[in-house]
Symmetry: C2
Subunit: 431 residues, 2 copies
């Protein structure tokens, strides 16, 4: 296929009218498709249906603990053990939460803003708090920052993770940089796995702020697509070795293992941090839902049970990712876009030529295909290249996905052609 960028104006115009006709056809179908959020599909949820009725009415004791009643601030032992084994930490370093690790992150930021980290002053009392945000990244991390008026500093990512020269330079100079978001494995949306060197350089940071904290959102820690689960150094161990034992909070959940909305989350950190956080939790609530924890313990039994489930998820997800990648390869050859080829996680990160993402997402919307809002993978929703679109192929069924990808590619091509026609000079894709 000839490169779009090399086409003459008249060739582009001919292409535009073809694409416009196809687009109008699709628009007339009044489709309702969604590739916007990293939601498990019904088929994936079905894998865990036994969770719903696995417990018998008489099964509510976890050892000595009546899971029905109040109490148990940091979770039942069996649940801690599973998270500890998955994340390579000690059970005592695990605080089991409710159904949402996002809520645990929000709460942690909130508490550090108003009360400070362990042995620290309230962040908010020290001035305008800043967070480093590797980009593109997870929109909900950015929303938390926006909510708390935390200034977000974007840090570029490459195939090894965040650019550590920039990170090191920034945190060593500015005492108001109090945090950094990381999705270290199969990152959202890039699918990048941080290299060993990046993990170790993060652990060994020498921040000017003694109360700097790494928010290590290990959301996709076991979420491989091809069986070759990536391994990265244990961040808590690396922090300990580097003399930063309290610098990192790990967050994870079983939301994309069992049920998106009804699973179990956790937070892990040093013993010191765990003790400090539990003091806050003892004011905030009586304890998380232990019955749901017990269901998960009974259903998965152990970390191996969880991992086996992930193989089943991969078997469902892999064809969807492959369909997307095949479709992009076939339909978008020569168009001038690029996209990631993740080995795990929930997203493909797609880059149009500069200045097209808003238009593409708008066109898709007109055709009934919902995509993540353009720009949402960047702090303040500002993608200065207007190029990145997060593709979430997990939720639709395969035929629905096929249709969604068809719509997407037509809209990409149409927007690209129009951009090229409008541009005074040829445009190249960013990076």
């Amino acid at each position: 296929m000839r490169e779009y960028a090399s086409l003459s104006k008249s060739e582009l115009q001919r292409l535009q009218s073809e694409l416009r006709a196809r687009y109008e056809e699709l628009r007339g179908l009044r489709l309702s498709l969604d590739m916007s959020r990293g939601k498990p599909s019904a088929g994936q949820l079905d894998l865990s249906n036994s969770l719903i009725d696995d417990l018998t009415a008489g099964d509510y004791m976890a050892g000595e603990v009546d899971c029905r009643n109040y109490g148990g601030l940091d979770g039942i032992a069996g649940m801690k053990r599973i998270f500890a084994d998955i994340l390579g930490v000690l059970p005592g370093q695990v605080i089991v939460g409710g159904n949402s690790s996002l809520a645990m992150m929000f709460d942690s930021v909130a508490a550090n803003m108003t009360h400070g980290v362990r042995n620290g002053e309230p962040w908010a009392a020290q001035g305008r708090v800043k967070f480093l945000c590797p980009v593109p990244g997870y929109d909900r991390h950015f929303s938390i920052c926006e909510y708390f008026h935390i200034e977000m500093i974007p840090v570029p990512m490459d195939e090894n993770g965040p650019n550590m020269d920039i990170v090191e330079s920034l945190v060593s100079r500015d005492h108001m940089i109090k945090g950094m978001w990381c999705v270290p494995k199969y990152s959202n949306p890039e699918g990048i796995v941080y290299s060993d060197e990046v993990v170790r350089r993060i652990a060994a940071l020498r921040p000017k702020a003694r109360d700097f904290r790494v928010y290590w959102d290990d959301a996709y820690t076991i979420h491989h697509l091809y069986g070759d689960l990536a391994k990265i150094p244990n961040i808590l161990e690396e922090c300990e070795k580097a003399g930063n034992p309290d610098m990192c909070y790990i967050f994870a959940s079983l939301s994309k293992v069992s049920f998106g909305g009804a699973a179990v989350s956790c937070m892990c950190s040093s013993d010191g941090n765990v003790g400090y956080i539990k003091k806050r939790l003892s004011v905030q609530m009586i304890g998380p839902d232990k019955i749901n924890q017990l269901r998960h313990v009974r259903f998965f039994k152990d970390a191996a049970g969880v991992r086996a489930q992930m193989d089943r998820h991969a078997a469902i997800l892999r064809p969807k990712f492959e369909l997307a990648l095949e479709t992009f390869g076939r339909e978008l050859d020569g168009v001038g876009c690029r996209w990631t080829r993740p080995r795990g996680g929930y997203f493909i990160s797609f880059y149009s030529i500069r200045g097209c993402a808003v238009k593409i997402v708008g066109y898709c919307g007109e055709c009934g295909l919902t995509l993540t809002a353009p720009g949402s993978t960047y702090p303040y929703g500002k993608d200065y290249d207007d190029s990145n679109i997060r593709i979430a192929p997990s939720f639709p069924g395969i035929e629905e996905l096929r249709r969604a990808l068809e719509v997407f590619c037509v809209c990409v091509k149409l927007a690209t052609v129009e951009k090229l026609l409008a541009a005074s000079a040829p445009l190249i894709p960013p990076r």
Copy 2:
């Protein structure tokens, strides 16, 4: 029985040595008893065991909503309907939460401190925030205030609720009084039901702070002991009528209906407040556990199903309360104490003569009986009379409770006699 206060020194000394002997006997038994927290007993929890396995594996749809997946920020329709019917509000005024209404209260205070109420400035940015705390009250309300450095102003309660002359006078003068805790029905620990007049005067407050909020913790709204469920005016309606539509947040839960640790909570307020709060929730989390909501909807079916369950709870709880009241009446006649006779809720509020509560709780602890820490029913743990003890008879079995009450009465009498012996002048119980 002769009044202790009228006994001579030698009579008191004889009594002391008898009681001391009995106390030592009890201490030697190395008992392990607990009347400290308002926890449902195993028998009460058993009433809801079907919740554990009632749902079948294929039952996860609530109308169009797949309860397994992400989403549904404010809960499923069936759960909202039940809460709305119980609390006399509209379903649209209900935000369903996770397993803890305490967490919803904490989050609400946290958000108002950092971001302010709807159309308000952050409380914390305006100076030292103050809350009115009717006393005695719920220790965990006070803990939330302490955590956020909110100054607590105790307001005395009488049999109709908080002293409204004091409340009105305080809130009309001080713009830093931003909140007030209320447990309007079967209050913790007094078991008081607010009178219609008190409810209406609360609703009609004219606070100097436009961002004043009533935290209406309706924890025991259907928790009667004798079938004669108290009715009080609908606070949201009364606020609306009085021109204060946004002034009140209601909190409630099914924790003491189904499972203490694995039930469903809610928050209700005006449409305006609900819309505002949902904006925060959309940053804080993806949604509450809808599967657990669906379990509750299937199990209880409707508000009538919930109310029927409360009759069964009452049948279990009533004999425990009656045993406590009988025991106090028999054992403590003439000792100079007083106690409440609640028609609902989870507590009996007990008053020793002045200056004995710490000693009584200490003696009980020595005998293996755990009680709520003395003073914890007051802000900052300061019961200036050293008199109030919260009795929670719900958790122990009836024979265990009998023994616990025996221990308690011996310790009360011993501490009272010792106090009288030590006092230069006779002491009278407070109030």
